[in-house]
């Protein structure tokens, strides 16, 4: 009996061990790269490329790279000293500088997967064409961000399936060519009007291409003679055919950035977010870098200033990373009556929302807690605290000569979010990437450099005229304001005066919109100096980084630890950063 039992066991054992697939792995909960070859896989790769934009637009790394350290914004109480002041070692080691590089290549690889498999996946031809066009648009957008920030860089145009530790810096001129080709091809197959909010459109592609040509036009090695003409063509194409693309400037500048209005006729492209907790990457622990924290960065710590004012959802969460420079407030936004944009861009009044804790008797909910009149002399007003510009954070007090330490200054309103679930949450608003008003300014810059100052001036005045509209005053008053604004526009015949004026106009229209550093780095004065270096060292009131910025800072350093150290061949660093 025992023998039989023993024999049975041996048989069982040998039959198990003879299963040839005993050692085969069958991953039942993992997706492998094979999935990307199916139609749903191709779309998922495209959505992943879209999703990666959330890292840049609305994130802190992009803030540090595009808003901080410019003539518009300087370090706020919690800002990074080293990034705002262009300290080399800070730029070399601060992870925020290398983030865009790291994310960008992941996004580009996903876009390349779409291009690789879309047509062979089995999906209908029109869907494949659309998918490929969107992927090309997104790839071009990412490469444009990367080439402006880092210069020469590895140009991956194919989906990567084999690992390699080699990488080579392709010259920026070739990168620009690839970007231009991608966008031109994308324009053919993208729809005029987005089928869903946030999808790429031909209009967005034209706009981006115009920007690319403007940046390329001043690039030492990438420039070509017809760049300005091309920029002019693509931007005016949108302006002349605005109706076909569903584009129109809004009547009131204040409506452009109002919460819940991110898909108006003026908006060309957004990086989407919504209130659905499953899809909006709102959890800071799961993926904090994809949070839209733009509503935090520009806000001073209002609730710490005076009793009776506490943090709430409408007033926002104050991370005070950056504050407007004195130059922006005093010079760029000097005109505050005719030009309504100052008051529509900045919050300067905070109202009491915590009446039980007010210390001054007689103040109730809704009374003014803080007022920033915006000038040293102001009419009397009833408010708990009033702060003059010399009392803004980091300004020198007129009475004591010491630097102010209180976190108070005008707060950028463009990213305010009333729909966040709780006070501590990041924003659920889509982030506006491109606006139609910028198309006019692009056209103006291109026209100016084509020696057509009249047309340039015309385009600028369209933007300025809109800025003169104030819903609270009469039509006659508006008309007068508009006429004053448009008549004081300079002639734009001289390039130096013109480019400085256009940059100022861009600030008035687009400040804080994650593009200033790029605009300063790409523009030049007539002696060939970058406006980044020229303006930051010569403007008055002084910009804080005027003594530390160098000419080579028009490029960011290539990441040391995630790229150079891991590449087995020689991978040179950008000039000036030590190597």
């Amino acid at each position: 009996m025992k023998r039989i039992a023993y024999l049975a066991l041996v048989l069982v054992f040998t039959s198990i061990s003879s299963c040839t697939d005993f050692l085969e792995e069958e991953p039942k909960s993992l997706l492998t790269a094979k999935y990307l070859e199916t139609p749903s896989g191709v779309w998922s790769a495209l959505y992943s490329t879209y999703s990666d934009l959330r890292y840049f637009y609305g994130g802190e790394s992009a803030l540090s790279m595009t808003v901080a350290g410019t003539d518009e914004f300087q370090k706020g109480p919690d800002g990074s000293e080293e990034l705002n002041l262009y300290s080399n070692s800070g730029l070399l080691t601060n992870g925020q500088v290398s983030s865009t590089w790291n994310w960008g290549y992941t996004a580009i690889n996903s876009a390349n997967a779409v291009l690789e498999y879309a047509h062979s996946s089995g999906m209908p031809e029109e869907d494949a064409d659309l998918c490929v066009a969107e992927a090309k648009y997104l790839r071009a957008l990412w490469y444009f961000l990367l080439v402006q920030m880092y210069g020469d860089l590895p140009l991956n145009l194919e989906f990567i399936t084999e690992p390699s530790t080699e990488a080579y810096r392709t010259p920026a001129a070739e990168v620009y060519q690839a970007i231009v080709t991608d966008l031109k091809e994308a324009i053919d197959d993208l729809p005029n009007i987005a089928p869903q909010p946030g999808r790429a459109t031909a209009a967005a592609a034209h706009h981006l291409l115009a920007k690319v040509y403007l940046a390329k036009a001043t690039h030492a090695t990438a420039k070509e003679d017809d760049d300005y003409q091309n920029a002019f063509n693509h931007s005016t194409h949108l302006i002349d055919n605005a109706g076909a693309y569903g584009l129109a400037l809004l009547k009131d500048f204040a409506d452009v950035h109002t919460p819940r209005n991110e898909h108006s006729s003026e908006i060309l492209f957004t990086v989407e977010r919504n209130t659905d907790i499953v899809y909006n990457d709102l959890d800071p622990d799961a993926n904090g870098n994809k949070n839209n924290r733009s509503s935090f960065f520009f806000r001073p710590n209002y609730s710490a200033i005076v009793k009776g004012l506490i943090r709430d959802i409408p007033n926002g969460r104050p991370w005070h990373r950056v504050r407007p420079t004195n130059y922006l407030l005093e010079v760029v936004f000097q005109n505050r009556d005719d030009d309504t944009r100052y008051h529509k861009t900045f919050q300067t009044v905070w109202l009491v929302n915590d009446p039980d804790n007010v210390e001054t008797p007689g103040f109730v909910a809704g009374d003014t807690a803080i007022w920033l009149p915006g000038s040293e002399n102001h009419p009397p007003a009833r408010a708990l605290r009033i702060f003059k510009p010399s009392e803004y954070y980091d300004n020198v007090s007129l009475s004591t000569g010491e630097k102010q330490t209180l976190s108070i200054y005008p707060s950028l309103k463009k990213y305010d979010d009333i729909d966040r679930p709780t006070v501590a949450d990041a924003s659920v608003r889509p982030f506006i990437v491109f606006k139609f008003s910028e198309t006019y300014l692009i056209a103006a810059e291109a026209a100016m450099y084509l020696n057509r100052p009249g047309e340039a001036r015309y385009f600028v005045n369209v933007v300025r005229a809109r800025a003169g509209f104030n819903a609270n005053r009469s039509d006659a008053a508006n008309a007068a304001a508009i006429s004053r604004l448009t008549s004081t526009t300079p002639s734009l015949a001289d390039f130096d005066e013109g480019i400085n004026f256009l940059l100022e106009e861009r600030s008035r229209e687009l400040c804080g919109e994650y593009m200033r550093w790029f605009d300063l780095a790409r523009t030049r004065n007539s002696s060939g100096q970058s406006m980044l270096y020229y303006r930051l060292t010569t403007l008055t009131p002084d910009i804080p980084c005027k003594n530390t910025i160098q000419e080579y800072h028009i490029l960011r350093p290539v990441p040391q630890d995630s790229q150079i150290d891991l590449t087995t061949n020689d991978f040179p660093q950008n000039p000036g950063y030590g190597s």
Binding site: E25, S29, S89, T106, N109, T165
Partner: protein, 591 residues
Amino acid sequence: MLYGEVTIIEGLKNRVNLGLDISDDKYNNFYGSNTPFRDGKLNSAQIKNSDNFSYTLENLLTYDKEFGMHRLNVTAMGSIQESTTISSRMDASNVPVNYLQYYNFSRAEDVFAPENDNNYTAWALASVMARVNYVYDDRYMLTVTGRADGSSRLAAGNKWHSYPALAVGWNIMNESFLRDVSAISNLKLRLGYGQTSNTAINPYSTLGGLSGSFYNFGDAGVRGYYVSSLPNFDLSWEFTNTINAGLDFGFLKGRITGSVDAYMQGTNNILLQKELPASQGVPGAYYENVGKTENRGLELILNGVVISPSSKDGFAWELNTNLFLNREKIVELQDPSITRDVGNGWFVGYPSSAIYDYVKLGIWQLDEADEAALYGAKPGDIKLEDFAGGGVNGDEPDGVITADDRRVLGSAQPDFQGGFTSTFRYKGFDLSVVTYFRVGGMIVSALHMPTDYVNRLAGRHNGIKVDYWTPDNPTNDMPQPNATIDASRTHVLGYFDGTFFKIRSINLGYDLNSKHLAFLGGNSSLRIFTSISDPFIFFSPYVKAGGVDPEPNAVNHETISGGEGVPQRALKIKLDTPPTRRIVLGVNFKF
């Protein structure tokens, strides 16, 4: 564990072992809105299950035979092992009433399944082995083994690896010329050669994988997938060849015993994760057989009865000591022409835990202000050594501190380690002291690096007590606190010599004489004891510099923030709890 054993013919046995392991793990939680975990945000709940079923089935055939002075033992084995784990997890947010906790997810506003903890993992191992053991006259021994293993985790075509082992022993004690030497009680020589192997990677690592992301277009949510790890279709076993020689000895009728062992190992095809450059677009690390390392070492054990008890309860003192050292180095990386992989911290000729960073000469002093200015520094900043200009082998200081000025500073490998245990007995008392020491090696104290938060040196913040430079205190230890402190160059502040001598524990106990307990019946015993663990640390440069304990407490793969220069395998001390000092008082009572 079940087994069945059958004797087939005399000397030949067959045994089948079956081991089963079944476990079921549940973890549920609920965090209310006003708890520190949620900090005012919406409440959250989680339910998580994990089931595991594993089994091992071994089939052994053994044959024992003795004839004359020969003794033979043959073993053959075949075994399989399999483990399957299924996990699932759901997260919910905004539960309407706190008492619902996690009991009814249908009532929560938002329910979703996170990327982590929803998976199926299965792996399998299969082995066959045969071993012959032959002893002649209890003096000469020979063992020959052959083994083959297969693992599901490796790439197809590389799943099986076979390897031999050979050992010989000479029991010199039993030789005729030593039989009458009473001074020597044991002497045995051992020599061996063998190979072992390791499949230590996670299942499915060779297949590559996708990770998910989210997006929306207006109100429509969509899911994206991107490649987060690349497949490796060549991944195979990591195996180690070892040669070792040893001598066991005993003198004075076993009063002194001990052994000496020396070994040399070469490990090939090491399975390590490799980071790819960011421009590859694949963010995860990539498994590869990356090269060869070599280990050589020596181990000494010496035990002795220093004082033999003169009577049954007399005073006795026993001492056990051991000493060991190991020298490791990377011999080759996967591509023989590459001698250094800076990003992963691998340098040919150095241990795999080599630390590569700037060399700190001290702190710039007031009288060196001009020289400091050349490097963009000022008195109070860290003074780093400037070796090279442009390229690894540049030999002229170039006046700029760049990434090429980094050098291999040391590694986690100690010069030698060891310890001793000393036991005293007298009447019913026993006292033992267990010690351990390490000499050499470099530890990485993340606490001292300004990239962690307790030694920020960025202003008047609370921090650990360190000797920092001020114009009145011209130390060469820590730099002057400065808000613009250059974080990348400050890792050098956290490297310390890892030498120490620790008393691991002191134990004192008393056994009550069983005579006194006779009234409770036979077999009764009572023991009272007290012990203290980790009471003292001596001779530690790290403790002298303000550290708590020089033994590492960070998990092996945890990186240090801004982790340039610190390899995975370094000994790291972070903010985790250090080894604790405990005092135990207890009674063992049996009746």
